[in-house]
Symmetry: C2
Subunit: 446 residues, 2 copies
Amino acid sequence: MDVTRRLARFVVESRWPDIPESARREALRSFLNWLGCAVGGCRHETVERALAALAEFSGPAQASLLGRGERLDILHAALLNGISSHVFDFDDTHLKTIIHPSGPVASAILALAERQAVNGTGFLHAFILGVEVECRIGNAVYPAHYDVGWHITGTAGVFGAAAAAGKLLGVNEQQMTWALGIAATQSSGLREMFGTMCKPFHPGAAARNGLAAALLAQKNFTSSERALEAPRGFAHVLSTERDFDAITEGLGETFEIALNTYKPFACGIVIHPVIDGCIQLRNEHKLGPTDIESIAVRVHPLVLELTGKKTPQRGLEGKFSVYHSAAVAVIHGAAGEKEYSDACVRDPAVIALRDKVTATADASVREDEARIVVRLRDGRVLDKHVAHAIGSLERPMSNADLEAKFRDLAGGILPGAQVDNLIGMCWSLAELDDAAKVARAARNKS
Amino acid sequence: MDVTRRLARFVVESRWPDIPESARREALRSFLNWLGCAVGGCRHETVERALAALAEFSGPAQASLLGRGERLDILHAALLNGISSHVFDFDDTHLKTIIHPSGPVASAILALAERQAVNGTGFLHAFILGVEVECRIGNAVYPAHYDVGWHITGTAGVFGAAAAAGKLLGVNEQQMTWALGIAATQSSGLREMFGTMCKPFHPGAAARNGLAAALLAQKNFTSSERALEAPRGFAHVLSTERDFDAITEGLGETFEIALNTYKPFACGIVIHPVIDGCIQLRNEHKLGPTDIESIAVRVHPLVLELTGKKTPQRGLEGKFSVYHSAAVAVIHGAAGEKEYSDACVRDPAVIALRDKVTATADASVREDEARIVVRLRDGRVLDKHVAHAIGSLERPMSNADLEAKFRDLAGGILPGAQVDNLIGMCWSLAELDDAAKVARAARNKS
């Protein structure tokens, strides 16, 4: 079984006309959503600290930091933009694997596009293939790999970045096979880091390391040629279970990017059904925090496993608290970045309501489902069943929703006219003669 | 159990007078041996290809590539020197874990020393502590972690590089704890890569990533504070067994560097008993290849697992062939880089003898032991029991042996007078007012 080589061959041999319209359309939506997140996150303390530590070591000013003024070498730009795009936990989600597919891939190749001219379709093509590679590898090992403790966006993302960068570099099949191998041996990122600055570091590192893997392979830096399937390869060492058919079956026929989703709320996808339901109840019944006696939510077990923090102290920790999230949904009717600020997490009114929230894990509840019961002081009992949260495949965000999200994120960073221009460029990416124009258009000139 | 924090506190609070003479002495020997390997390997194709791929992205010319003329930013210098020092598989070995301790640590801090002035004792102190951290973490998970398929020099080395660099940077306990966390989430490197250019990439990447971890932590880039011991931390995710006492017991009392060993042969340590025995038989009986009917070796099972390649095609693969190694030991009485060249691996005389070698795994044979039976055409049967190979703790290489090895390695790269000067500087490292002088003295001026 030559899984790694077959995947490499597919990426090398794929042609733009082979890519179906559904994949192209979702690629544009994914890219727009990713770019908004990267611009929106660019002033976050996580980015500032990484930049303070590493900017000194940057090579030539090849590539733009999105939303900012600096230009760094493409490896550092990939790292920093990758961090920036995930710092709000607001980027896209491949629900089958909980991978955030765009971060590693787009961060790598948008930086590369500023060094290596590529037109819009060439760029989109590489992007779609990179997402395909990381998500198929994710499909092969999820959920066992995730259960072991790996942050799959980092561990699978590095393959996606390598494949996409290798496609832009025009490497041959042998080199692409090595690129996947060099990616495999850098695959890393622990779920233990959730709630710290290392979480957004993971897609950044995956972008940089995958890009470096492709650049090394282009110079014939050798690697295992069976890095995925060998007894000591990625799928055996980093997972307790694996299904290689998930990598090779239907390759070129189905495209994982068509299954991509986008978050209306600035936190892990698993809490979205609860937030969605709480906002609906708030709006339907005009609830205020003082009306409420208790909120009881019934959720998939993963919700408590990932977001069970009862008393978050900082904004970032709030994203890992279903209790805080339910409280802000009722009080503010939203769960954007503002609702995950330090100030909001420490707001006495939020804390008071948070302490009235109880959550119960129930294996019969699906991951995108939630059951909520709110008891009011006046004795009324309200309930809400969310079958599929907003942002799911069944209830996707519209293009207009995505544009509104983009404006919310980028609006505080770039002037309105520049934001409008960027949105337009994203939708017409396939017609651009030079994809790097998007990166340059996202630079802060002030 | 706050394993990570205790380890961080130990590194931060350790003072040079606390370091026993035995550790200081072995640190000098380790550093000398490492430097010779790094200089000797600096023209290897692996280094050339990595440099061809990555030099374009280097930042300011801060740090020297040992044995070469280029200067790169410290992160790239750490990566390249780390690759160079392991490219011959000739560097030091901590036998309890098969970690090659110096590569990740020395590559990181010698580069850092060119940016951040430090005297000789400060440098040696950080080096000893870095080795302590990586080897203790290795002790905690070896052999289970290695059996899973991890190249422990990469996976544990990143912690050592982070700790040593953090010590030189003077970070506080909190930052050191984060540095170990940022290291943990980059821990990577698969044994599947053995026999390819990715193997020496591992200590290089560990050096660079550990150095970056310390630099990030210095700017308060946050991480888990329980990265080693948490249920989703390094020791649980990357190993099936773990013993945290191996990290914390006797901290500051015993020093792992005192257990370091050096290779007389340019290949994995596990084949050394066989090579040693074959060279002894050759010299004692003046054997030539045509005298021999067969060579039967009985070895620890790991030997066949790691070096069982029967028909290596390239020099690098020869290092993973106990058969090739036994053949060159008899024919050339040596197993240096020359005996692992492409030419030597393809030499018909070597191939003919190689095909007469059989190897049997025997769990009753220790790792540093071998039993060899040579049948001669004239009917004689010779046998040799190697109880401890040359280079082991029981039969260590002398300082003179190490100097001779250094001259062999560096002699082809740097002029003789420069090599002599370098050796002298290594022995007197503790007296240097600026440790970076060693790096500058190892530059190729031609």
